[in-house]
């Protein structure tokens, strides 16, 4: 299994540009999450999905959109990039605690480092 893969690894955007951060998992996990991590800080939840066709906002959703058309893919869309969106973005996936035997081990991708200038 490749686990959780994210592309691209790095990206520089100009203010107002748009882009999609890709996330794919091959573990057949129901749950998928997008986090951002600012320097020296913890992770903040942007959006999450509990299954294909279902998405919901996290703590910091403004400026982002997501879709979940398949179990495997959970892309994150930035429509009008702003300097405040400069961050490292992590995608994660997991089974629900009930079906995982009691472990919400969220598996994380390697991250996408985004800079908006």
């Amino acid at each position: 299994n490749a686990g959780v893969t994210q592309t691209p690894k790095f990206r520089i955007l100009k203010i107002g540009q748009s882009m999609t951060l890709q996330c794919t998992q091959d573990m057949n996990h129901n749950y998928m999450y997008w986090y951002r991590q600012d320097p020296g800080m913890g992770l903040k939840l942007i959006y999450y999905s509990v299954g294909a066709g279902i998405t919901d906002k996290g703590e910091v959703p403004n400026g982002y959109n997501v879709s979940r058309s398949t179990t495997e893919d959970f892309p994150l869309r930035l429509e009008l990039a702003a300097p405040s969106q400069t961050s490292v973005y992590f995608c994660a996936s997991s089974y629900p605690l009930k079906t995982s035997g009691g472990h919400n081990e969220q598996f994380f991708g390697p991250g996408t480092r985004l800079t908006v200038l």
Binding site: Y33, G40, M41, L45, Q106
Partner: protein
């Protein structure tokens, strides 16, 4: 504000010593807690978890303690090694539903040889 916080942002220990990393949480409904390790330039990695019906859980060289009375969580690393140098995050969630994790800011552990 964040419901999970850490007492110390940095911790420096000598190789072979035991390390203790602390975490406070404020959501009394949280019933599942996880410690993650994040090495530089990588995504977080699961270390150990604990449910609210337990006070202590042990893994390989790591122990997590949970004190629900004071809403405190700690991670103990025995015989700390240079490879343990990383940022450690605690996270909390409520089982069922979305099971969203709320992360603390993290503690940077440096192990000196």
């Amino acid at each position: 504000g964040e419901s999970v916080g850490l007492h110390l942002p940095t911790l420096s220990v000598q190789e072979g010593d035991n390390s203790i990393i602390n975490c406070a949480y404020s959501n009394s409904a949280s019933d599942y807690f996880i410690w993650y390790k994040q090495e530089s330039g990588k995504g977080p990695q699961f270390i150990i978890d604990i449910r609210s019906n337990m006070d202590k859980r042990q893994g390989q060289r790591v122990t997590v303690l949970l004190n629900k009375t004071v809403k405190h969580l700690s991670l103990q690393i025995a015989a700390t090694q240079p490879g343990d140098s990383a940022v450690y995050f605690c996270a909390e969630t409520v089982q069922g539903g979305s099971e969203k994790l709320v992360f603390g800011k993290g503690t940077k552990l440096t192990v000196n040889p």
